[in-house]
Symmetry: C2
Subunit: 195 residues, 2 copies
DNA sequence: ATTTATACGGCGGCAGCCTCCGTTTATCAA
DNA sequence: TTGATAAACGGAGGCTGCCGCCGTATAAAT
């Protein structure tokens, strides 16, 4: 028996609730980027000028909070795929997007553990984000293989996994260069006509 | 001015000290593999039947403990390189070793953050392990490129980084298959004669 | 203005981190 | 053997973070 689907709430959502939720995400994003995934939630609440109880009502667990942050960035990634696809030829678009994905990971340095659930994760919460990102990549990859430029006999997620590897590194001078080499090497492996 | 190199200690190292150190590493290895890098150090000490103070004297920080564990596995990895090299033709040896590296990572699931310092890390503690593993890989790679089977115009560590990416994943059914595809894809990218 | 569903804040119990120091013990010299 | 003593042990204690719980405050509805 289905419950109330849109479940018309007798009251409108309170304005302060929405506002504080956004505030918390904002500060959490900063905190995680700076201090890694184990940043203190109490500190985040304090920074945002809110009580710890408020944080926990909005985000019952650390993972839920991180999920919320990922959701935002994920949306940006998906949008970029569409934009790149209409601005570049297929293989170039794919390459650009992979590089964008590299940058996406760069910021998430400390949150490597969660990445596992993001890329191909089956956990209820993460699966949606995973599906959306993977779908975007699939679109790019299909376009590129349709023109005959690359073969595509491996799962696209494998690519993301490989690139995800560099997310664990300290972003020293070599970091970005290494990431680019990696993308090109992988694309080289996929290029047709080398049996 | 150099200090005393072997620094002849007036006394021999105490037997119980060595034994307990080994014990702690043993239990820590198990704990980290099962519960991830954030496993309770107090629990580890308790499991080993030792006090928390003892653990902290041997390993002043969590990282030092993890480092010690890695050191062991690292040695095994380096030894395997030599063994494989004398038992297989170059490219096969390289491939086998990469697969071994995959298994090495599989156990380290929860310790992804430390991996960054292991692979190409410059931190004083991790650098040694990094150097040794990289050197082993270099030997394998050189042998393979000497026979003209593969080109080798990227840094070998890049390979490890890519493979490291899969360490973040939950080892479901797909996990191992994906890892193998990854190794073959990378080797495909390196194979000569496809420009 | 009053009602009432929501949201807020922070206290409190618990667990893990890590330091410090009094006690115990393995080695060495006599 | 028997001290002497450097080295190792263990755990109490101070601190911080996690998170459930509930009394208080307030935005929306009437």
């Amino acid at each position: 028996m289905a419950k109330d689907s849109p479940s018309p709430p007798r009251r409108k959502a309170r304005a302060d609730g929405e506002r504080n939720r956004a505030l918390l995400i904002e500060f959490a994003k900063r905190a995680f980027a700076e201090r890694g995934a184990s940043a203190s939630l109490e500190q985040i609440a304090r920074d945002a000028g809110l009580g710890i109880g408020t944080l926990y009502r909005h985000f019952p667990s650390r993972d839920v909070l991180i999920e919320a942050i990922y959701r935002q960035e994920t949306d940006a990634l998906v949008d970029a795929a569409t934009r790149l696809q209409s601005a570049h030829p297929p293989v170039a678009a794919l390459r650009e997007w992979l590089l964008l994905f590299v940058d996406f990971l760069a910021v998430k340095k400390g949150m490597a553990e969660v990445l596992g659930t993001l890329i191909g994760g089956t956990d209820s919460l993460a699966s949606d984000a995973s599906v959306r990102v993977t779908a975007a990549l699939d679109r790019l990859a299909n376009a590129a293989s349709a023109t005959g430029d690359i073969r595509w006999d491996i799962s696209p997620v494998d690519l993301l996994r490989a690139i995800g590897g560099i997310a664990n590194l300290n972003p020293d001078d070599e970091w970005r260069a290494s990431a680019i080499r990696m993308v090109d090497l992988l694309l080289g492996g996929l290029r047709v006509g080398h049996r």
